[in-house]
């Protein structure tokens, strides 16, 4: 529904804005998702490391596994913007 009073430039600009908004949402929402997923893993990881430092590497790894979600978000954002 394009308003009659809108010029082509305005439409383009608002499309650009929508893109930026979408990119922001992609990163932000996936960030929240990754954060929620990492919360439990992270607390268990810190607990395990506090007792046995040898597992640090392994639990660090387990902690960053949900990071993929936010990476996907970042990829989508970048593809939207460029």
């Amino acid at each position: 529904m394009v308003d009659v009073g809108m010029t082509l430039e305005m439409v383009q600009a608002s499309q650009l804005g929508m893109k930026a908004l979408g990119a922001g949402l992609a990163v932000g929402l996936t960030g929240i998702g990754a954060g929620v997923a990492e919360m439990a893993i992270g607390s268990a990881a810190v607990g395990a490391t506090a007792e046995n430092r040898d597992v640090f590497g392994l639990v660090l790894l387990l902690t960053v596994i949900p990071e993929t979600i936010v990476i996907f978000g970042l990829v989508v954002a970048l593809l939207l913007l460029f």
Partner: protein
């Protein structure tokens, strides 16, 4: 290379009389990995755990003492720098002659110190108890010894007025205020109620005499004196450390070795007359050990080489070219390879720095990290830390190389255009340039993913033959091929429908059936064949199919994380240089100078933060791609560390 060091399994049996010779010979060679004997539960077998050699008890007692002394003096053998190596025979003699006197000295000092500490605490406690009373001008005797009067002493929220005959002192000079009330016994309860209403909290009356202020000063004085004495004792202990560290760590080492030798039979199986031990030696050492043992016992030893049955029991020692060996630390973090599987250390050693460089391709950051990894080497003592720093230095060199290719220096452009793909964003000063080639970079990352995963699956096929035997090995290998087929089937079908830059364009191929072209059909066939291949081993695995796509796409992080790092760098540059420093440089004013200094600060802090983020992002994401996306395709891990019986002398010489 690509395989751990070859191991041979030896069984050594000797009559009980030869056990000491055997143990010291094995210890000297430092190559025999003892497999600890564990008796099966409750089975009345003829084999049982051996008993320690006679000297074990004495050596253990002495060792406990030495460690206690080290602890009291604050010596940690792991962090002691080696100054001189003492000869072993001399150390042994000194354990007899010098150690007892050192022990006595340290024990006395520690005893004195703990007595002083007790005294200091006691006086501190007394002082704390007296403190509120010092605010009231009454001698301590006056608080006690009444039969007809009751004395209230304690903290209170505020002063109160009491309507019965009484004597009262109030002071707000101390924390929580202080009140002293003396009343006749018959008014006790109502006064107590009044006091309690004002939040009265009883303080016990100290068991002392005289003016509280004087007593308080006396106790504080005592505490101070005890403190100085403790400091003096600590100084003496430091003196002991200064004089005897070399000897103590050498004793520790010698006695540890003694105990280890004397307690070795605890790891052996025994019968009435003999000891039996199983263990592992590197392939090239087996003959030497065999000859040596036969020589020292005069042939009174039975050695047999056993078949390797269970590869999970074989100790694993890496065998890698020297440039790849620091990467072993990254392998150990995940899991040491099993004896029979491929050791991917070499591949990680090559690919990890490349991934790191792709993510953090910046000459400036690379140089900082390189300097950091070289500089920290002096301070880090542990082997693992040093190996990690080595890995970091390789990674930062790669980062510099990629920085030249990307033409990046702290986010700014170098004098040449990007030789590779540009990651320069349209931010601030650089605005209006070519812009980043995000799509191309993404495709590149996906390509890397496809190839890396393909390599992983091929290795999986190789490993399948090693983990399983006969029919199952074939099944496992086919399943791996199935995964590979499924992945490539999907990829070819995508190519058949969409033209993607930097990837083969198969959309133009002739149509065969139902509007699908040759490539699409071939891809579909490959996909179906792959799925059948996976299902024939375990149909449940099919639920994992989406992971094919997510794992390949996961490699996009090589670009995404890198671009965000570039973005941060450019934003920092824009804020600091473009918005703060440059406008002021055009016409310098006093306020401008301050803004410039502030801008420089922002610049430094921003890049410092980004270096840390880059190190974390580059390192973690690169290694994660290996662990999660690459290793899961072929790698099991779980090998035991090769830990030979013996010791490398650090503080002694033979």
């Amino acid at each position: 290379m690509l395989r751990p060091e070859q191991m041979r399994r030896l069984l050594i049996a000797t009559p009980k009389g030869e056990i000491e010779t055997i143990i010291s010979e094995l210890y000297r060679h430092n190559v025999y990995h003892i497999e600890d004997f564990v008796p099966e539960s409750e089975s009345a077998e003829a084999l049982s755990i051996g008993h320690p050699l006679p000297g074990a008890s004495d050596a253990a007692s002495a060792l406990i003492k030495v460690r206690a002394i080290e602890n009291a003096c604050g010596i940690d053998p792991d962090n002691v720098e080696i100054r001189t190596k003492l000869p072993a025979s001399k150390v042994r003699a000194m354990i007899e002659t010098d150690l007892p006197s050192i022990q006595k000295e340290v024990e006395d000092l520690v005893a004195t110190r703990s007595k002083l500490e007790a005294r200091q605490k006691e006086h501190e406690q007394r002082a704390r108890e007296l403190e509120p009373f010092a605010a009231v001008p009454l001698d301590l005797e006056l608080y006690r010894g009444y039969t007809r009067f009751t004395v209230f002493t304690g903290h209170i929220m505020h002063d109160v007025s009491i309507d019965v005959p009484h004597e009262k002192y109030f002071s707000d000079k101390v924390d929580g205020n202080m009140i002293v009330v003396v009343v006749a016994n018959e008014h006790r309860e109502e006064v107590e109620r009044t006091l309690l209403d004002a939040g009265f909290q009883v303080i016990p009356i100290p068991e002392e005499t005289g003016a509280p202020a004087d007593r308080l000063a006396a106790h504080i004085d005592e505490t101070r004196q005890a403190n100085t004495e403790i400091a003096a004792v600590n100084e003496k202990i430091a003196g002991v450390r200064e004089r005897h560290t070399d000897l103590l760590v050498a004793c520790d080492e010698l006695l540890t070795a003694d105990v280890e030798r004397a307690e070795a039979p605890l790891r052996f199986a025994t019968t009435e007359e003999t000891f039996i031990t199983e263990g592992w030696v590197p392939g090239d050492q087996a003959e030497r050990i065999r000859d040596a043992l036969e020589r020292v016992t005069g042939g009174r030893v039975y050695i047999e080489e056993l078949e390797i049955e269970d590869d999970s029991r074989v100790p694993v020692e890496y065998e890698n070219p020297s440039f790849a060996s620091p990467t072993q630390v990254l392998m150990d973090i995940y899991a040491r390879p099993r004896y029979s599987e491929l050791d991917p250390t070499l591949m990680v050693a090559v690919v990890f720095p490349i991934f790191f460089g792709l993510i953090l391709g910046d000459v400036g950051y690379g140089a900082i990290l390189l300097a950091l990894s070289l500089g920290l080497r002096k301070f880090l003592k542990g082997d693992e830390g040093r190996m990690l720093l080595k890995v970091l230095s390789y990674a930062s060199i790669s980062s510099i190389i990629f920085g030249i290719l990307y033409s990046e220096f702290f986010g700014a452009a170098l004098p040449w255009p990007a030789l590779f793909f540009s990651r320069h964003l349209n931010i601030g000063v650089a605005a209006g340039g070519h812009g980043p080639q995000v799509a191309e970079l993404m495709v590149l990352a996906i390509w890397i993913g496809i190839l890396h995963i393909t390599l992983g699956r091929i290795l999986g096929m190789v490993n399948a033959r090693k983990f399983h035997h006969g029919k199952h090995a074939a099944k496992a290998a086919i399943a791996n091929a199935g995964w590979l087929g499924t992945m490539w089937g999907i990829i070819i079908m995508i190519w058949a429908f969409y033209a993607i830059p930097l990837m083969p364009d198969l959309t133009g191929l002739p149509v065969v059936v139902m509007g699908f072209n040759v490539a699409a059909v071939a891809g579909a066939v490959l996909l179906v064949a792959g799925i059948i291949g996976i299902a024939q081993e375990n149909p449940l695995e099919l639920v994992e199919l989406p992971s094919i796509i997510s794992h390949v796409l996961s490699y996009a992080r090589l670009v995404a994380v890198g671009l965000s790092s570039v973005a941060i760098a450019m934003v920092v540059n824009f804020i600091a240089i473009g918005m703060m420093i440059q406008p002021q440089l055009e016409a310098i004013t006093p306020v401008g100078v301050i803004i410039i200094i502030f801008g420089i600060l922002v610049l430094l802090l921003g890049h410092l933060l980004n270096t840390a983020l880059g190190l974390l992002g580059g390192g973690l994401h690169s290694i994660r791609l290996h662990y999660v996306e690459f290793f899961t395709k072929f790698y099991k891990g779980g090998g035991k560390k090769y830990n030979p019986f013996g010791m490398k002398s650090k503080f002694m010489e033979e």
